[in-house]
Symmetry: D3
Subunit: 302 residues, 6 copies
């Protein structure tokens, strides 16, 4: 049985994401949740290696009800498993990108889509590369305080601040049909990507954001990556490079809900750093983002 | 002397709520603040047994000024005491509902209204029962992330997630004249209660909320119960079942202020869990809610 | 394969205890680790419902090496599984004792011994009752700051402060061959149990303690229950009723190691309360206690 | 070389503000950042003596990019140094006001403007006095939850709650051309100062606030003092006297940015209390406020 | 009724010390517990103004049993009240010493002895002065990491690091019959006081310490002041100037217990700083010290 | 002036180690303190990249007095500077070992010895290599819970758990004249190094340890590396791989003091992880270790 919740108190038991089956067996699986507990590419505070574990734990409150406001229950309609985390050699960082790529190639080859629990934002680069092998250059919707577009032409540097630059430059992302949301640090060159800064979200509201995103991505295959620092530090203190003036959680929820219908092929939530998540709100937000990604992914497949 | 502040620094002394007289003597008392330090009915994180103590401590900053924006000072106009906490046998949970009911019957019989400091949300059920003996089926205004309306016909289960179901089913609440605010989890059946979800509050604003609440409750006797998880985890991390996308504190303040004139007969603030209130903001919010309830209660009696 | 460690980083993946197989299948199993996430009987601070989860997480650092100083590897020699946690109805506390008893009856009937991860100390009472059905009145070795012998003849009260009184009075423990270690609160009547207070441990050292314990328990079947508050709050801040002057962690480690050879039939570690475990040291200590219990249990069976 | 960033990782090295040169040499300096680590005048929670250090540390993430949304880089255009902190005798509080005044007289006499990192709000009074010696009665823009206008005619009392009363009464502030923003506690007498309460900011938005502030201050020399408790406790938990219903960080950012063009002569950010800043968000906000003050100060001088 | 515990759960109600009557009425009182919530004289971290409140809260676990190892119950034999805290003007620090002196003169004149809950160590100076008016130059037993004997002949400086220098120099302490325990920072001149450094306590044990203390103080009237930083930061992290290598809590307990019979006239526990007491162990230790002082005080009077 | 303390409050100013001059100028310098903020080689919890900063901050309490129990003041006798931290490219981990080696070669070539503030334990490997170029194979005294001798013949792996294996195998350490102290995890092969486990330290005491260490190292040049996890988690919770049963801080202090006279050429303190140092005690201990290393280094040179 691939669906349905094991009988367990919210506070009991080992914690798979949303209490889904925890397994490496992908047969019959529609969507695989998987963690990449990696934080070795960060400019400032580490700790996101514990992100997947914290997000799983925070998700324990959610499986009792369908996701709010969607009108359907993806947990009941799809076979979703917790595929566990990528195991890798932390002492050989240069091997890491290949390890990620192969992890996702394996899953994608078996059929399911993926929702990744990070880990730092570098992890998204090899995932995009694996996806592009299947889908070609994709649209990306990136929630983030930073563009991650600092110029860096040394492909061997493993840096969460330049991953999108490399993704665009290496052709796995179609910048002209991609968009960033929540930006509030300067960027010299967006390489053709659209962006909506955080202040614009506050002043114009989620509906305007959704309309603009739809215009940009159209019906292209979309990968949605959500850096938790898109949210304000009040809502997501547990992250490595917090910037004030960020999104409020209801705005993120509303935007994700109202994007229903886009052609989502995969997604992730990254940069949740539990050692700095003193309130626990960051993990709660991370678990909600992942749930919304599942609902969004399932919407066009339900 | 029942009014007026003892001379004490904000940081000094044992802490009664708002520095009111701490006493079991109800003669001449208009309003009794009382705690119910109970957290044994919760689905997830406990800790609300320390809620009353934390709210008292947070309230120490408030008695120096009248509540903001009300234009009158309830602390100067009414005899308000801190009646202390219900003492009960934690090792005999099945006796707890009767203990609560009797505690509130005693106070109500002596004359004063009550503002209860929780404690988990189950506590509100026996309070409503005690109030209904005096007022009949009441209107309830419930601030909450959850409806607490999960079906549960076993009246002996002591569960904070089903208390409102039991309150409605047992006839102490007039569901058709009651309303929930801040909801952001699914509910199959609201049993006739109106509700305004959190997104609606964000998109339409406090004024629209207030208008709708007034329509629903009219001049019925109203009991207002404020589950602190109505607020977003950014504003109230110290609670047992946090959900993202919640109310912001200014919205709660504005709604409570603008409800002035409703026929409030009692109220409570529940689910403040100090072990998880790492920022202290939850207790601060709880103390403000209690102060607003006092001002709201006093408005029609001033 | 019931032995051996899955390939996983210490910081990755969902966390079973010591990375053992997480399963309800007991065939071929020698020892079952199981959690009882219950904290509804406590006199003061709750939170031990999250004890099993925290101990599992802390144990992730341990499976890479055999336990220190034992000279053999129980993880390699025995089939040890993580049997998961007892699921129970938190809203019906009076049913809890039966649920625990049945949980342990089921495991014991299937053959394995158990090491329980608590949960508050009340949990030990129904476990002792289940064990006594198999072994008769047992010796108990209790590490604790409190005797838990407060007189309480109402068997329906579910109270962590009186559980040992009830265990002795109901005949499942042979008090005359049992002993308490680490006591530092007054007790009027030890009901015939021996005890070694914390100061004695500090002044006489582990060797003297071990000798006395061996004299008391002889070769009787022994159940060892370790209330983490036996340790000083410096070493175990995350517990409900901390008392200064407690054991140091090296003393507990030395005593447990040097008890090798006693006839241990089961054991537990209780009262680890993660919301108060701000340093994480309490969960680390709890995981070490559990590992020592495994090594001690295996010693006579290796 | 007075400009440009030393080569250092964000997480490395001793921390000057924005990695500026840390020096007591003011020759050629345009703007001096300086801390006043004083918290001995507070009504409730202390800790702001560690504010300067925490703000410096939080600022380490900022010097890599120009401030967001300004379109110019003050760090590249001006000589800005970290002048270090005022050293004073904590055991002789009555000497403190003179020490502050002299510290700022010295800097102002040497030419540069100042941005002060506090410290509690009392510190602003002697700074205003030093500035008034140069500029005469100034306009003040005060972000704050409290007016700090409690009547207190004893000039020797050193109290953060009455500093503005004394500033107005002693003639160093031109109340009629000054304004307070974010107020949400009662004040009997604003002494002629304008104010915009927090609710007004939420309901009318930053643009309306900016327009009103410009009307009030005109082209007068302005000193801007930002008490971090102007922000809601969700955004700034680390402060001494938190009040719910406060500003959101994006609003503060937008207002500060859109005030570009006012005649700013100096400013400060105060009441950041690191022992209570469990999320770190308060120090992050403090560092952003200081950066915005720099950009605002530089705007008319660029 | 001045004895006996009000019926209250450990976690319920406003918190007087040991649940004693909270009152300014001293008639019939044997011993008055009183707080001095002052932290304005400290060299480093503040926060001890919240010490009395935290110690009261931590004491809630203790009144259920008599103090361990004493063989009598002072709470049953003596009339002990919680006299509340000194209220003083935080904005006029120079008036503080007189306020303390008068507070204690008032109590001593009424008859009872005192146990003071601090507050920083400066508070002890005016208390010693008040006591000396009654007892003449006393013996002092000082538990401390620091001698607090830095030379400082300016009596108007209010500094916790020089208070004992001033006490000795002003003749209220008989240095030749006084002793310091736990020292582990250098001191040029002990002014004739004996001292036992922390290493000596570790190496020689409590019995040797007790013998030496008895030799020094004899049957002189003794005031015992316990700076919580005498304990190692592991046991008391919540203090302003922590030094490694300190006492373990069992050693402090054993020494205090074995001093039974000295002529104790008063005492205090100071430097508990709750904002830094992340484990809560410091307040627990503080409450235990105060209880031991009560038992020690009562021993010769029982 | 290279000696003497700048006038600054303990809580004020940017923080160099022990308030020494912060400079890259090594002329006339006897000893250079330098940080290596690197945590990218760890098996479990990261965060030690913030170790140097936290140790500097904790050291602010120490420069007012000479180190306890040494009878001389190294700060007054030697020119000691804070040389700042190694800056390196976090995104190119494979370049890190060379960067460290060169950093220390530069310092050693200029004359001074070094005390390094870590950073994780891998950092010690390239430092030992730089030292061996000057001193040949050295004795090492390693305080640690783990031997760090896991076999790992791939020299390109950058792993804190195998660094000593590589140091021994590559000939920069003379294993036969080296010793480990505090061990409490299993090791198959010590490669000829002596070791004293933690239990031995507890049972035999510091004097026996010191005697054994002196026997092993003789008058060989010694590098002393102190992994803070040698201490028990009660004393040093802020570290990546805590193990119970560790050393107490007084024991470490006593051993370091009593080693006076060994031929110390350099040293470090590593594995202080501030995000997990909830009590602050770990940074305090780290700063004390560094101070003791300075005193030990200076002893033979005074």
């Amino acid at each position: 049985e691939l669906r349905g919740l094991s009988y367990e108190n919210a506070f009991g038991g080992a914690t798979s994401f949303l209490r889904r089956r925890y397994s490496k067996d992908l047969s019959g699986v529609d969507l695989a949740i998987t963690g990449v507990p990696f934080d070795q590419s960060v400019t400032h505070r580490p700790g996101t290696r514990f992100g997947p574990r914290a997000i799983r734990e925070a998700s324990c409150l959610q499986p009792y009800d369908p996701p709010y406001g969607w009108g359907y229950d993806p947990l009941g309609q799809f076979n979703i498993v917790d595929y566990g985390d990528l195991a890798f050699d932390y002492a050989r960082v240069s091997d890491f990108p290949d390890a990620v790529r192969n992890h996702f190639r394996t899953i994608l080859a078996a059929g399911p889509g993926t929702v990744m629990l990070g880990g730092d934002h570098y992890c998204t680069l090899p995932i995009l590369q694996a996806y592009a092998e299947k889908y070609g250059p994709m649209s990306v919707i990136q929630f983030d305080a930073h563009s991650d577009l600092w110029a860096d032409d040394d492909m061997s540097r493993i840096d969460h601040g330049t991953f999108m630059y490399k993704a665009v430059k290496s052709g796995v992302v179609d910048a002209s049909r991609s968009i960033q949301i929540g930006i509030r640090t300067e960027c010299d060159d967006y390489l053709g990507m659209a962006y909506i800064d955080a202040r614009h979200v506050h002043e114009k509201g989620p509906a305007a954001v959704v309309q603009r995103v739809r215009e940009v991505v159209g019906d292209n295959p979309v990968y949605l990556t959500f850096d938790i620092d898109a949210l304000d530090p009040a809502f997501a203190p547990g992250t490595g490079t917090p910037v004030w003036g960020g999104l409020h959680s209801w705005q993120a929820a509303a935007i994700l809900r109202d994007l229903a219908g886009i052609n989502l092929v995969g997604g992730d939530v990254v940069e949740v750093s539990p050692p700095y998540d003193t309130t626990g709100a960051t993990a709660v937000a991370g678990a909600h983002v992942a749930m919304e990604l599942i609902a969004l992914w399932g919407w066009t497949r339900r």
